[in-house]
């Protein structure tokens, strides 16, 4: 909390929630990359089809969505008490709970915990929260080597790249690009490596096995935390996450405070929603759950870092708080016509696509991410796809109303509203517009900022008379 009692936003200078460029500028570069467009189009179309087929098998899908939405709304309404309940139960089960107000604090806590073990290397389970706070950079700065073990995150890490999708971080890469990255950056890789997917997977497997067996500290995120039992859950498809969660001596989990569910039985809803909406699977392949420390089995030291980093500020916004219901399935990315064409990097945040366009600006404050709420045509495909029914278009409109507006645009909008509230003035403006259009060439060379329109589209020829002129003359 700041001195005024307003919840703090995610701090600047750390983590990955803000881009270097505005969305339109970054998107223009991405759109020019035809290989990227082909990779994305192929990948999103494939996932969309697969997900759509398995969702259609469930007669109660809409009821499940409503249940998921209601459970999340309930959780958010009682977040403080549920978090305390979680802390109590994790502590009782032998874990240690740390509270991190922001990215800097979370990075410091994790770095100190690793230092205390004396280890110089950690293995990582795929985690959005640690990407959000830039944990890898913080660890590296402290002389600790983080190794990503999710295949796609490993591709991103070895390629010195950034994730571009919540679930499939290397969605922007195809297999021949992945082969090149492995040949260049993977230690002891077979120089005869082909781009056959099983061959690529086997190469990663060989490299990771060695790392799993020789690393004593793991860092994970969490998909769910159950307040009533103190249980943490990670869902993944490869089994590499489970290696990290079971083999090391120390496990450190960084979790956004909104990942909570009240009861064990609530997972029944989310474990049906998540795999079908995300990867198009009926059941998640590897679901790992752990409660504190089990003597003689798995990590003997467990730390849970509860991360705020702007979430309390999001919770304070009546419309925007729905964004905290997100279960990181990526369904909204996969159906978004904007994401499909620009890819994730254009959003400048680890949370791309429609959910990123409403989550990132709220975590940072809209003024720090003013172009993201506009990175949508408001087509509404995301709302229909969301397994917990987040009304993303309404949040986008809500955030646009909070965004700082360019001065000229604001003046034009005010003048337009003034005119449209005066029918006589409005009718003369219609006639003036018609004359201006007749004077100019048809639909070409409009002045900025309207030149964005005329670069690729003609404007219609002006009608001989407006509708209201015709109506009056009937």
């Amino acid at each position: 909390m700041t001195f005024l009692g307003m919840p703090a936003r995610a701090p600047r200078g750390v983590g990955h929630l803000r881009g270097d460029e505005s969305f339109p500028v970054a998107a223009r570069k991405a759109l020019a990359n035809s290989q990227l467009r082909r990779n994305l189009q192929h990948a999103t179309t494939t996932i969309r089809g697969k997900s759509g087929r398995v969702i259609a098998e469930l007669p109660d899908w809409q009821e499940l969505r409503s249940a998921g939405s209601a459970l999340k709304a309930y959780t958010m309404a009682r977040l403080p008490e549920l978090l305390e309940q979680l802390e109590e139960n994790v502590t009782a089960a032998g874990g240690v709970v740390h509270w991190a107000a922001d990215a800097n604090e979370a990075n410091r806590i994790v770095t100190d915990l690793v230092r205390q073990t004396g280890e110089r290397r950690v293995i990582k389970v795929k985690s959005m929260a640690t990407q959000e706070i830039g944990l890898n950079e913080a660890l590296e700065a402290a002389g600790i080597t983080p190794v990503e073990t999710d295949l796609a995150e490993l591709i991103v890490q070895l390629g010195n790249d950034k994730p571009s999708h919540i679930l499939v971080p290397a969605i922007h890469r195809n297999r021949s690009e992945i082969r090149e990255i492995f040949l260049k950056a993977m230690p002891d890789v077979d120089p005869g490596l082909t781009d056959d997917p099983p061959v690529l997977a086997a190469a990663a497997r060989r490299y990771l096995r060695e790392t799993f067996l020789s690393t004593k500290v793991a860092v994970s995120g969490a998909n769910f935390a159950i307040a009533e039992t103190g249980t943490l859950a990670v869902v993944e498809s490869e089994g590499n996450g489970r290696m990290c969660l079971t083999l090391p001596e120390t496990l450190i989990t960084v979790m956004g405070i909104e990942k909570l569910v009240p009861k064990w039985s609530d997972l029944e809803v989310f474990l049906q929603l998540l795999p079908r909406a995300s990867t198009g699977e009926r059941m998640n392949p590897y679901t790992s759950m752990w409660t504190g420390v089990t003597p003689g089995d798995g990590p003997q030291a467990f730390h849970l870092v509860l991360l705020d980093n702007g979430r309390t500020a999001v919770l304070a916004d009546e419309v925007g708080r729905q964004a905290l219901h997100c279960i990181r399935c990526s369904a909204c990315l996969n159906v978004c016509p904007v994401y499909e064409r620009t890819g994730g990097h254009a959003y400048g945040s680890v949370y791309p696509g429609p959910i990123g366009a409403v989550l990132s600006p709220q975590l940072t404050g809209v003024a720090d991410n003013p172009s993201l709420p506009y990175a949508s045509s408001l087509c509404g495909a995301c709302f229909d796809a969301c397994p917990v029914k987040i009304d993303i278009p309404s949040i986008l409109v809500h955030l646009r109303n909070q965004a700082p507006h360019p001065r000229t645009e604001a003046a034009v909008m005010a003048a337009a509203a003034y005119t449209m509230d005066r029918p006589k003035l409005y009718a003369s403006a219609q006639r003036a517009a018609k004359l201006a259009r007749i004077a100019g060439r048809r639909g070409r060379g409009l002045p900025p900022p309207l030149n964005g329109w005329s670069a690729s589209r003609d404007l219609p020829s002006p009608p001989k008379e407006t509708f209201r002129d015709w109506w009056r003359s009937r």
């Binding site: 045509s377 509203a417 509708f467 015709w470």
Partner: protein, 242 residues
């Protein structure tokens, strides 16, 4: 039935044919159409661009203008979507205005909704001898949920050869000021929409929104494709006599 026409500012100014066709169609079906002259714009452009404060007088004007009427029609899924899903929100703290806006919204229909749900007609007696493909605009589809109503109306048009648009439910890329603020992304979306329209071999692309048609038609015209965009109302208003 006495029906008030909300022409929408775009159709009034740039695409009067869509609003005229709505009048002529409803009169042909035996209804009385009135045009309350105090109407201007629903305020959607302001609302969706982040100017709710500027939109408030427009919402107030719209409510005041249309509240005397029992049934209101607009040849636009998007503008009806704004009336139905945004006006009460913009009214905000003004609970009286919000209630009046909700009441007006409950009596406001997009053209295909009016024809099928209110007037109970699927065959309007139209004649339009062309190969036509239909683009379901996002707000008709996902805000109003008009479903296949426009297609049911089109299937009953004499002489009309209706061809299915591939990936029809994908946005055309218009999105109001999105098309200007994110012109490159908008154009990339439009390129795919145009490719699908051309793949159908249709000579006319129709939809229930003049705005999306302005965008698609602007692209088709720039590329000299020869494919025309025609508002759904104009097709339904066409007869063998016209």
């Amino acid at each position: 039935m006495r029906i008030a026409l909300f022409a929408t500012c775009l159709a009034d100014t740039m695409f009067p044919a869509a609003a005229k066709a709505t009048v002529l169609l409803l009169e042909r079906l035996g209804h009385e159409v009135v045009f309350p002259a105090e109407q201007t714009c629903c305020g959607q452009m302001h609302i969706n661009t982040g100017y709710q404060k500027d939109a408030l007088p427009l919402v107030r004007r719209h409510v005041r203008t249309f509240e005397p009427y029992d049934v209101i029609v607009a040849p636009s899924g998007s503008c009806v979507g704004s009336v139905r899903h945004q006006h009460a929100m913009v009214a905000g703290a003004d609970a009286g205005l919000a209630a009046r806006a909700t009441s007006v919204a409950s009596r406001t229909f997009e053209l295909s909704e009016l024809l099928i749900d209110v007037l109970g007609v699927e065959d309007v007696g139209a004649y339009f001898p062309h190969r036509v493909t239909y683009h379901p605009t996002c707000h008709s589809l996902r805000v109003l949920r008009v479903g296949d109503k426009p297609l049911r109306l089109l299937r009953n048009v004499r002489g009309l050869d209706l061809v299915e648009l591939p990936d029809a439910e994908q946005c055309c890329g218009f999105g109001g000021t999105f098309s200007v603020k994110n012109a490159d992304t908008s154009t990339a979306m439009l390129a795919d929409k145009m490719r699908h329209v051309l793949d159908t071999g249709a000579d006319v692309c129709t939809a229930g929104d003049a705005s999306c048609l302005m965008h698609i038609g602007g692209g088709l015209s720039r590329l000299r494709t020869g494919v025309r965009t025609v508002h759904l109302a104009e097709i339904l208003a066409s007869t063998e006599a016209s």
